[in-house]
């Protein structure tokens, strides 16, 4: 090993610079993190009792659109088990509650009342009225946000028992 003073100074500089670089990178990473105020964006309460049947309502939660769709009895009768499992049931009415962003690349699919399905204009993906993907490219169903049923209102951002059950069954995302 080269024990000259220059060699030592070179290593000393390398060590100081290395520690400094790691520290600086960490600080830079943290500066790009979402701010605490953004993170605490919190909870949104929506009243779903006033929704009309087969009319899509779009609410907003953490800057994202939330789809609320009250299904008609006919729609509920036609669905299969997997679809019904995703329904949020309040006062005996079946609702679709989902984040209204296509699971492909995040466009907002449009609801087609006549066909009772969603069509994404960006790359042509489709979802049924339970938010299940029926035509590629979207790889998975619309995401169900954490919710808690409170009478006829829903609190988004909080996980109630109904949500936890869906989550355990692996159907929220």
């Amino acid at each position: 090993m080269n024990q000259t003073r220059r060699g030592f100074m070179g290593k000393a500089f390398g060590a100081v610079a290395g520690v400094g670089a790691v520290g600086a990178l960490y600080a830079m990473k943290r500066s790009w993190d979402p701010l605490p105020s953004v993170k605490a964006a919190g909870f949104t309460t929506i009243d779903i009792s006033a929704c009309a049947e087969n009319k899509l309502i779009v609410e907003k939660w953490r800057g994202k659109p939330i789809f609320v769709l009250r299904k008609t009895a006919e729609m509920v009768a036609k669905q299969d088990e997997a679809e019904t499992a995703r329904d949020v049931i309040v006062d005996g009415n079946h609702y679709l509650i989902a984040i209204g962003l296509c699971t492909h690349l995040g466009c907002i699919p449009a609801y087609r009342e006549a066909k009772t399905d969603f069509k994404c204009a960006c790359h042509g993906g489709e979802f049924d009225s339970s938010g299940i993907n029926t035509k590629a490219p979207p790889p998975s169903p619309l995401v169900i946000p954490p919710f808690k049923i409170n009478g006829t209102t829903l609190v988004l951002g909080e996980s109630g028992p109904e949500y936890t059950k869906m989550k355990e069954a692996g159907i929220v995302a």
């Binding site: 790009w32 993190d33 979402p34 701010l35 953004v38 964006a41 779009v58 907003k60 953490r62 800057g63 994202k64 659109p65 962003l101 699971t103 492909h104 690349l105 995040g106 466009c107 907002i108 699919p109 449009a110 204009a121 960006c122 790359h123 042509g124 590629a136 490219p137 979207p138 790889p139």
Partner: protein
């Protein structure tokens, strides 16, 4: 203290202190350019000038632009467009230049591919060139966010979502890039920083590297001829300019280069003043709204080919195909296994490869603009497969090529 003689002229004074004469000799007077080239070799200079135009128009836009989600849209569409004297002109210059620069980059790239200017010592020119392409793409994308219109917002949403890496679900990474759950104030601010500072600085450094990588191998020529630059330079310097295969970069070659630039600038300003609409998407004249997606989301024309490679597949395969398309060109010098540096038309199967690639990218571009339905979906799908296939067969067909 070094010894300095009294200088007899300003030039001598500067030469003593900065070595300007040496610089001028190395970079201009004795930087030899082959005579056997055509106007396509002026595209590099056209690009450098266009970058200068982007910089100057950008500086003027920067004086009134407000990087704030509530103010950005009006600061562009009202303040700059209506109030600032000639503000509309800077905006149209900036938008047209940002679009045309990609047309020239594609011409410049395909010129390089056609003449084989990416091999035999020119690999680093090619690689720095592709890095410039990546940097320009990032610059164009970040700039597109700034007016905070509908296309800004939704392009920002879709492109940042790519970083979730499909089924890997890296949503934390996407939120980290945005600084929020969705594109919002933090997002606009950081892309503003990237657009006006970090990426332009990177582009300037890369242009320096690109030019530096050119100096020793020199530019290629129309026949891929290997020139003995010392010998040809000696002829030139001895006064036998007619017999020499080279001319000096300045002022001889520069005068031709700048002539092409002049023709280009006439065309450029014609577009700026009379035909600027192609560079301004009408959808982006609606303010950003996170609750309404525009009916069709498509990128600017220069990203359409790679967008079309993403679109027809499943999410994960689409992302892999897209990533492949983004990086594959940079590997061209290593995927082309043939030793020949001659125009594509003398290179056997590579001739067909070149034209097939060019045509395929045009088809992909056209399909990317059309709605993803029926026959267009199918054509786009086939063209995307052809793109990937062409790159897979490239090493094989160039390996089989006869050495000339």
């Amino acid at each position: 203290m070094a010894h300095f003689e009294k200088a007899n002229s300003l030039n001598e004074w500067l030469d003593q202190r900065l070595g300007v004469n040496t610089l001028q000799r190395v970079l201009a007077k004795e930087y030899w350019i082959p005579k056997d080239i055509n106007f396509l070799w002026a595209m590099g200079m056209v690009l450098a000038i266009t970058f200068g135009i982007l910089l100057i128009s950008g500086i003027f836009l920067l004086m009134y632009y407000q990087p704030n989600v509530d103010l950005a849209f009006d600061s562009v569409n009202y303040t700059i467009m209506q109030e600032v004297g000639f503000g509309w002109m800077w905006r149209h210059v900036h938008a047209v230049a940002a679009s045309v620069v990609f047309l020239i980059i594609y011409i410049h790239m395909f010129t390089g591919i056609y003449y084989g200017s990416y091999k035999k010592g020119r690999e680093l020119i090619w690689i720095s060139g592709m890095l410039l392409f990546v940097a320009f793409s990032a610059e164009a994308f970040s700039g597109y966010m700034l007016p905070w219109g509908q296309m800004s917002y939704w392009a920002g949403m879709v492109i940042t979502n790519l970083f979730s890496m499909g089924s890997l679900e890296f949503n934390g990474l996407v939120e980290w890039i945005r600084g929020d759950y969705v594109p919002a104030q933090a997002f606009l601010d950081r892309f503003f920083m990237l657009h006006v500072l970090l990426i332009p600085v990177a582009i300037m450094a890369l242009i320096g590297l690109h030019f530096g990588a050119l100096r020793l191998p020199h530019v290629n020529n129309q026949n891929g001829e290997e020139i003995d630059f010392e010998e040809e330079a000696a002829k030139y310097k001895s006064g036998n300019k007619a017999a020499s295969k080279v001319i000096a970069f300045a002022n001889d070659f520069m005068s031709k280069d700048m002539f092409v630039v002049a023709v280009y600038l006439v065309f450029f300003f014609y577009l700026v003043f009379w035909n600027f609409e192609f560079a301004m998407d009408p959808v982006n004249f609606d303010p950003a709204n996170g609750l309404v997606t525009p009916a069709h989301i498509y990128p600017e024309w220069y990203f359409l080919w790679s967008y079309e490679i993403l679109r027809p597949f499943d999410k994960n395969i689409g992302l892999i195909a897209f990533a492949f398309a983004q990086v594959i060109f940079i590997l061209l010098p290593f995927l082309d296994r043939s030793p020949n540096t001659v125009p594509a038309n003398r290179r056997g199967l590579f001739k067909y490869w070149f034209w097939a690639m060019l045509l395929d990218m045009i088809v992909l571009t056209a399909m990317g603009k059309l709605p993803p339905q029926g026959i267009f979906s199918t054509i786009g799908y086939v063209a995307a497969l052809v793109f990937i296939g062409l790159w897979l067969i490239l090493p094989i067909i160039t390996k089989l090529e006869k050495k000339l």
